[in-house]
């Protein structure tokens, strides 16, 4: 192993290990508080700790800015990162991709199915306003988005997907009591399969208790959990469509 692959944080000299930190401790600002901050950082295996600033936030809370040196080195050769499944693309890149590679608007339909009355998830992804400063699908000029709302029976959603000639169907489930979400998801996929429509659409599950592995196990193409942004879903659908188109031609 060559030493050039051993790395450490860089301040102004190779391997000096300098890090800057900012954090709050739930104690009143005092000499003792500063000492506590310093000791805490040494517990993190940092050395040469300098508490450069300590300020009172409110009664019983102090905010610290500190500099310190880190000890461990890391062999960069041993680091592997798995590819992210979704290509991170922004609003403009996704619209450009659809325009260039698909050359027509994508149609995406979404709903909360079954007894679930929660539209929090589907609205965050589809509504114009979007979520966390990420525009919703309704806002995408290259996407025709239809949000059917909550308590939509599976057959209604399938019929609407056919009427609108949807490319993708988004299904949201927030209520997970007694695994209601699993039952609703399964029922939907079974109905699609019975109608021999499963391969016609990209089918996506979403909700606070959903992850990709679970969704795939249930027969969906993908699953999106908490913190998902509309652009994640849009990027997934757009790239998947490009992929499918490529496979056809």
């Amino acid at each position: 192993m060559t030493s050039k692959n051993l790395i450490k944080p860089y301040g102004d000299t190779m391997n000096d290990g300098v890090m800057q930190l900012a954090f709050t401790l739930p104690v009143e600002n005092s000499a003792r508080a500063k000492k506590a901050a310093e000791v805490y950082l040494t517990k993190l295996n940092l050395v040469d700790v300098a508490i450069s600033s300590a300020k009172k936030l409110t009664d019983g809370f102090t905010y610290f800015v500190a500099f310190a040196r880190a000890i461990p080195t890391l062999n960069y050769d041993e680091i592997e990162a798995t590819e992210v499944q979704i290509k991170e693309m922004n609003f403009y890149q996704i619209n450009a991709l659809i325009k260039e590679k698909i050359n027509r608007k994508l149609v995406i339909i979404g709903a909360t199915i079954g007894t679930d009355a929660h539209t929090v998830g589907i609205d965050a992804i589809m509504n114009m306003k979007g979520y966390n400063m990420d525009y919703g699908l309704e806002r995408y000029p290259e996407i025709e988005a239809y949000n059917l709302g909550s308590q939509v029976p599976p057959e209604t959603l399938i019929k609407a997907a056919l009427d609108y000639k949807a490319d993708a169907i988004l299904i949201s489930q927030t209520v997970t009591q007694k695994d209601a979400h699993i039952r609703n998801f399964t029922e939907f996929i079974e109905m699609l399969e019975a109608e021999k429509l499963r391969n016609r659409f990209i089918i996506i599950a979403g909700g606070p208790r959903i992850n990709n592995d679970l969704a795939i196990e249930l027969g969906f193409d993908a699953g999106f959990g908490p913190g998902t942004l509309p652009s994640h879903v849009a990027s997934y659908v757009a790239n998947k469509m490009v992929e499918r188109k490529g496979a056809q031609s």
Binding site: M128, R139, G149
Partner: protein, 520 residues
């Protein structure tokens, strides 16, 4: 003091057009009520509480009224008649109605003369409660003086009202003048108000009357400690606009987010429903001395801040005109705008100053609500902090009223306690070192800033002429605002709009229409 040489007659013209647009909507509003407005009447008559399924009593009573006799005459008269039959107070009568001990059909036998006195009493008590909150706030403001503008506005959003309380107290200690409790995502789409203290929410905390009370109590303590009046904010928007206004008034809130078009555009709520609900909510705000904050800043999160600057100004003018129709005085109109220009644009700061100064001069008496950058915020917190600092400078220079604190971690998470401190530290620094900068400078006649402001005003005038010609409802359905099209009869809550019968009765509204207590 004027810094931009605006054409006074043009200012007159745009205000006149905006008034005509608002008056056209008012004709529709005067002929209609909504389920939510009727529930508001019940709440103001003292009906509260939920059943075992957590359905609020006001919702259940209105559903019952709809099923038994219809809503076209309003709830007021029928409820008073039910009280004649029950010989009990409002809350007990509501419970008896809910338990089907009384039917609204039974009330048809009660004579109007017998119920009229009760109706009058109920409405008098309700108005008295609204006047009472007005007086209470005024008294507190003598004890704890209102700080100079721009007021520093900070948000808390943990989802847990008790945790929010700790965060709010710390923000006040660092200098916040206004605390807003961000609402749980999509509460605006609930056709009822959740009940009681809540400790779980999605990206925010549910707006409930109990949560209002808990936060108000905490802030009262904080402001006494600091000797400075601290305002409490929540959201009067969505499907329960006017009901929230009533609950907020009863708990002495100072400010409510309340826009005439936001819900229609960004939440796909039916426009007729929104216009009727916002009128009632604003009448309540006027009487209870609650500042409304309008949501024009949102247009710029979806449209370009330079290209669409005139839609912000136009919407401010329409919100003002509708506000005046609902008896809000200029001091209660927190008209919104934002610092959202792409930071890579050359002279972006000059554009921002021009837009902010234009708003200042168009609405000299109103506490403008100025929103920090959000759209171009980076996950690099240090760059974000630099952007916020420039926003702070624009705000103090143009004397904005309500200054939403820009937070360095905006693009990352809901603020940590230390993030809020960092934001306030920069605001306090800039507001102090540049306190009188605005009094000292004048913008060059014919210069970039003056020309830009004039361009926006010209575009606003053209835009308003188009809206007036089409009518506001058609304009919205054609996508003139924020590039979003909403059909006139589409959206959520449409079925809850009611055509008033000639015998419609709503004595609270009649009284509120006469104007705020402060006008008498």
């Amino acid at each position: 003091m004027a810094k931009i040489n605006l054409d006074k007659s043009q200012v007159e013209t745009v205000k006149t057009i905006a008034k005509s647009i608002a008056d056209d909507i008012q004709k529709f509003v005067d002929e209609h009520s909504t389920e939510s407005v009727e529930r508001t009447v019940l709440r103001l008559y003292g009906v509260d509480g939920v059943d075992e399924d957590k359905t609020p009593l006001p919702n259940k009573i209105i559903e019952k009224l709809l099923a038994e006799v219809g809503l076209n005459e309003g709830v007021s008269k029928y409820f008073a008649k039910a009280m004649v039959l029950s010989k009990r107070d409002g809350q007990t009568t509501a419970e008896l109605l809910d338990q089907n001990h009384i039917s609204f059909k039974d009330t048809l036998s009660v004579l109007d003369v017998d119920s009229l006195k009760i109706e009058k009493d109920l409405s008098k008590k309700a108005i008295h409660a609204l006047d009472n909150t007005y007086n209470k706030k005024l008294k507190k403001q003598i004890e704890c003086p209102v700080p100079p503008t721009p007021w520093k506005y900070l948000i808390v959003a943990t989802g847990n009202i008790y945790e929010d309380r700790v965060q709010a107290e710390s923000a006040v200690d660092s200098g916040a003048d206004i605390i807003a409790v961000i609402r749980s995502t999509a509460q605006s789409l609930l056709d009822y108000i959740p009940y009681g203290a809540t400790t779980e929410g999605f990206g925010g905390t549910y707006a409930t009357q109990e949560n209002f009370k808990i936060m108000r109590k905490a802030l009262d303590k904080s402001m006494k400690k600091r000797g400075r009046y601290v305002r409490l904010v929540n959201y009067s928007s969505g499907l329960c606009m006017s009901e929230i206004a009533a609950c907020a008034a009863m708990e002495d809130l100072d400010m409510l987010l309340n826009d005439s078009m936001y819900g229609i555009l960004f939440r796909d709520i039916n426009m007729k429903r929104t216009f009727v609900d916002q009128y009632m909510s604003r009448l309540i705000c006027s009487r209870a001395n609650i500042i409304i904050n309008t949501g024009e800043d949102n247009y710029l999160t979806t449209s370009d801040a330079i290209e669409s600057a005139h839609t912000v100004t136009a919407s401010q003018l329409i919100n003002e005109a509708m506000g005046i129709n609902a008896r809000l005085k200029p001091e209660l109109l927190g008209l919104g705008h934002a610092y959202e220009i792409n930071p890579t644009v050359e002279n972006a700061f000059l554009y921002e100053l021009a837009h902010a100064q234009l708003a200042r001069e168009l609405f000299p008496r109103s506490p403008l609500k100025y929103m920090p950058p959000t759209k171009y915020k980076k996950t690099d917190i240090f760059f974000s902090h630099a952007m916020d600092t420039m926003f702070n400078l624009a705000s103090i220079t143009t004397n904005q009223g309500i200054h939403l604190a820009g937070i360095l971690t905006e693009a990352i998470h809901t603020p940590l306690m230390q993030d809020r401190y960092q934001a306030l530290d920069s605001i306090n620094y800039v507001f102090n070192i540049a306190k009188n900068l605005g009094d000292e400078i004048e913008f060059k006649a014919g210069g970039f800033i003056e020309n830009r402001a004039k361009t926006v005003l010209n575009e606003t005038e053209q835009f308003l002429i188009k809206v007036e010609k089409m009518g506001l409802m058609t304009s919205i359905s054609n996508g003139l605002f924020a590039g979003i099209k909403r059909p006139i009869d589409g959206g959520k809550g449409g079925p809850g709009v009611i055509k008033k019968a000639p015998t419609y009765s709503n004595p609270i509204m009649d009284e509120l229409k006469k104007g705020g207590k402060h006008d008498q």
